[in-house]
Amino acid sequence: MKGEGDSTWQHFDDTVYGGDFLANQPPVKAMCDAAPGIIDLLDRMGVPFNRTPEGLLDFRRFGGTLYNRTAFAGATTGQQLLYALDEQVRRYESEGKVTKYEHWEFLSAVLDGNRACRGICAMDLRSMEVRTFPADAIIIATGGIGAIFGKSTNSVVCTGSAQSALYQQGCYYANGEFIQVHPTSIPGEDKLRLMSESARGEGGRVWVPKTSGDTRDPKSIPESERWYFLEEWYPKYGNLVPRDVATRAIFKVVYEHNLGIDGKPMVYLDLTHVDRKILDRKLEGILEIYEKFVGDDPRDTPMKIFPGMHYTMGGMWVDFKQATNVPGIFAAGECEYQYHGANRLGANSLVSCIFGGFIAGPAAVQYARGTSAAATNGHFDTERKHQEENNAMLMKSEGDENPFRLWQELGELMTKNCTVIRYNKNLQETDGKLVEFLERFRRINLSDRTQWANTSVVFARQLYNMLQLSRVIAQGAAMRDESRGAHYKPDFPERDDKNFLKTTKASFAPDADEPKFEFEPVDVSLIPPRPRKY
């Protein structure tokens, strides 16, 4: 594209290299081979991709590649793709080919006596009715797990609850410890919103007040009392150090030097010294987002930013046909682990979601055709009753723990210890805390006990699943004594292919109520691993 000699092989190489060689290579190659066709498909569906003067798709560059490879639709590509796919589903609905159950929450799979999937159990979020849906095969597409980190760039529905429930029912969860953090997000009271990195590119300076707890208006803090830590630590690159370096430095200043603004995890990203005209010309879109959601004009006031949990590389373990280890359960999208290894490249996620769906759909149909009816149907009633009992228990519980407060604590704990910088001591402490949280969960108290659109019950259920999955992340991170992709341990700063060129697979041990781990070799048959240095 753009006559730069780019190729699907180059895309494949960038993806594998960016993922620090932890992804099995054959499915990644297949995805990259299919990617141009996927862009064409989205274009045919009417996604308003930007055009060249000749009327062709325009492409631009994203992090982790040297090529202008990424099609884009203004500043809202993700939204456009989502809506285009949604429109097609609506079309199928109107043709009677699809039945959509919106406002239902997946609770669990229905497994038969041989632990094969026979359907799902779900709850109507309005009537609170719990019911089962028989199915020969199911495909899980429940997205990332941002909510485990309290606030993230993800949507609030991305709780990982479904993945966790299935893990607790016997599905493997792979590479849980790989969590991508975006260096510059806008910390909000409700969520973290993505802030493009171009703000640093246009001369933004990152600093904190030198004294902890300085509550002065940033503009009134004299130069001599500001700490431009990136410029001091990395005189050569200054504020333009690569993503991961910037992220770690900000973390260090906040958590080790305790110098976050107002004692909170935030630092200043200052553009106020840059000429307004330049800002308006080059960064207007971004500055408007900041203004809209924060209320301050970054042309006048330094922005507050902080690295934010952004993407879940790990997920449900699947084979090259997107099948989990439980017969009849397939998975596609951010909820599974297949395509991004230890780190995801910009713009690669949506492609992997769609490609995973292309594989999972036909594979599920093929599986369904080959499967015979279960011997009995008793497991449907059993599963429904089991889930109804869970709800009843939560409704009755007379403890003193508010689920939303417990969630806030979980988010703070996980963000602090399981994102950017990882120490084994902290990870072990985190797991201990998680066990404590699970204890506290037993004493939950729902202030809402009504049987209609009760969001507290639903949330409490999600919270329980988040807690279980958090242990997979913390313990997985503790085990991996190396640094690879998004996983960084100062005590083990190098990648260790000899011991850890392996997929982490967690499975739930019901008796011990905790994860157990095994490791699986990675298929590196196409591109031999080489050191990752940008």
Partner: protein, 250 residues
């Protein structure tokens, strides 16, 4: 307002579609950066009214928290808007929260917006592609065409334009501005235009585009600045032309 110590909320609550509504007041300690959603989250962490009575967390819809999904529309101080971008510091107090008034209520601030999605189905608001298999590249479009389509494609299905429209009610059954604008979007797409006649036909008759009184409330409220009145007049013209054509063909 930035230095006041607490923020006062008046929230209209309704347990279910079949119970009657009542108001509850909440007082939260002010802190920087609060918005309506973060305040609702805070109430969930400590569901106690202003006068110390324990209550339930408030039911509301929200998902993306960045004006993409359209789910958090509600009446904030009487204005239909997205809760996720409603900053407390920019609102008068007490902050009054109510559900959209023209959509069936689910509970508290959550309403059922499915009428819009049904309207989009009726108007065939999609590009009728042959299939999802690889059929090569899509149709060429000029930069101008893309630039014209892009603003229309930013609709987030929030239903604010319908809430504020004087014509949008049960009597008229009016489809509302969002659907009309989507018809314009798909009718101008090279492949989408194959269904042009059907889309325009769906906008004829009772509840169709003729119900619009050009009050322009829609275009003023739209959080995505979609040129709705422009869409309405363009699509209105096309509907008229087609209706007259149909008349002569009969």
């Amino acid at each position: 307002m930035a230095d006041s110590k607490s923020v006062l909320f008046k929230i209209r609550r309704q347990g279910s579609p079949h119970t009657s509504p009542h108001w509850e007041e909440f007082s939260l300690a002010w802190h920087p950066g609060m918005n309506v959603i973060s305040s609702l989250m805070e109430i969930a962490r400590n569901p106690v009214t202003r006068d110390g009575k324990p209550t339930t967390p408030i039911t509301y819809d929200a998902n993306c928290l960045e004006e993409v999904c359209g789910s958090c529309a509600m009446l904030i101080n009487g204005t239909a808007r997205m809760a996720c971008s409603a900053l407390i510091d920019k609102l008068e107090q007490p902050v009054r929260l109510e559900p959209l008034s023209k959509f069936p209520i689910v509970r508290d601030l959550a309403v059922d917006r499915s009428v819009l999605f049904e309207n989009l189905k009726r108007a065939k608001a999609w590009v009728p592609i042959d299939g999802t298999y690889d059929l090569g590249s899509g149709p060429r479009m000029t930069m101008e065409e893309q630039e014209a389509a892009y603003p229309l494609s930013r609709c987030i299905s929030c239903c604010c334009c319908m809430e504020v429209c004087p014509q949008f009610n049960e009597d008229t059954g009016f489809v509302g501005a969002a659907t009309i604008s989507q018809v314009r979007l798909f009718n101008t797409h090279p492949t989408g235009s194959a269904l042009k006649r059907e889309r325009l036909a769906a906008l004829m008759g009772d509840g169709g585009i003729q119900e619009c009184g050009y009050a322009q409330n829609c275009v003023e409220i739209c959080p995505k600045d979609i040129p709705l009145t422009r869409s309405i007049s363009e699509v209105g013209g096309a509907v008229m032309k087609q209706a007259i054509g149909d008349l002569f063909r009969k």
